[in-house]
Subunit: 190 residues, 2 copies
Amino acid sequence: MPKNARNASPAADKAAVAKLHSRKPLAEVLGERKVAGLHVNLDSMALVSNIHRASAALRDHFERFVLTEAGLHWSAFVTLWCLWIYGELETRKLAAEAGVAKSTLSGILNTLEGRRLVRRRTNEAERRLVIVNLTASGNALITSLFPRFNGEETRIVGGLPTKQRQTATDALRAIIATIDEIDGPLRDED
Amino acid sequence: MPKNARNASPAADKAAVAKLHSRKPLAEVLGERKVAGLHVNLDSMALVSNIHRASAALRDHFERFVLTEAGLHWSAFVTLWCLWIYGELETRKLAAEAGVAKSTLSGILNTLEGRRLVRRRTNEAERRLVIVNLTASGNALITSLFPRFNGEETRIVGGLPTKQRQTATDALRAIIATIDEIDGPLRDED
DNA sequence: AGCGAGTCGTTCGGCCTCAAACGATCTGCG
DNA sequence: CGCAGATCGTTTGAGGCCGAACGACTCGCT
């Protein structure tokens, strides 16, 4: 499939998003048109909104420039990455680490197993558990992909002053911790 | 400590994610086990990784605590929100603003239209265009939802020092702009 | 007038995504 | 023992999500 073609290019509806998206911050439009007496915290909204946009833009960028040619979706990549880091993992922990529901992971593993990138194996001592690990080709794939990923990450965020990058990272960590704190109590203590 | 039934609680596989996720930063594990001579930029990785985690945690939190009871998914909410801000929008622009492909929006609009929350109408002057706007009940729903959203946003990020919040917001904006710059040239100039 | 190229929104096929329901397995307690 | 309850991973059903293909429509040429 030709990547050029100025004429008749379907594909990549998604690519138009970021451009239009960033053209005019929604927060401003809201400020202009809506928040007459609605007392809204625009600062909070701006930060949260930018977190989502940055996440989507990053994900989109990586899918488009690195993952598509490898035939992987985001979650499949994350799954392989986790397995690469941890060596092998039970399904339940892998799902948690990859950030998807266990039922979602089941489907992802079916896909990856079909491509011979991962292997499933029942734990004999605990026959309820299923252990997943990379095959040789799965390991080769993620090993070749990861440096490119990290390189792109650095290309994108490396331009920021070190101090700002650090501050932003800390802020995000704090946000994650706060949400954990709010949502966490509903879960069982272990 | 028995917040909720310790016995037989299906549901909310997703909730376990954040907890396990934040327990042990993957970057550290990577540092421990992998990056012997692989020269990886851990700072970049930490920032990018935390952007994704924060975005997912936020989205998850809002879906669980605000959207579920309204029977809305994330994208459906964003779609209603855009319509609330802009009044009415063509399908193409709405998709871009909501951050989804136009084909995805088509499905979302089918769902929302089925619930009588939005309305579709053909533009008579340009019969290719479809204009979407909120119904009265759609408007009522988003109007009631938005303040709760903003309140939660403030609860979550409001604890950060103003300066740090501002710095983080700027950093995210810069990241989005950088990605736009990298990806943008491939799109048509308008 | 007519026709080819461009641009709408929709449809289609394939996968991801979730919660809930399910079968298999392990455990504790009588 | 035996079986009720907890905990695995998988299946199911409804919908989100994408790129590609498509029909409807518009515009520019000739």
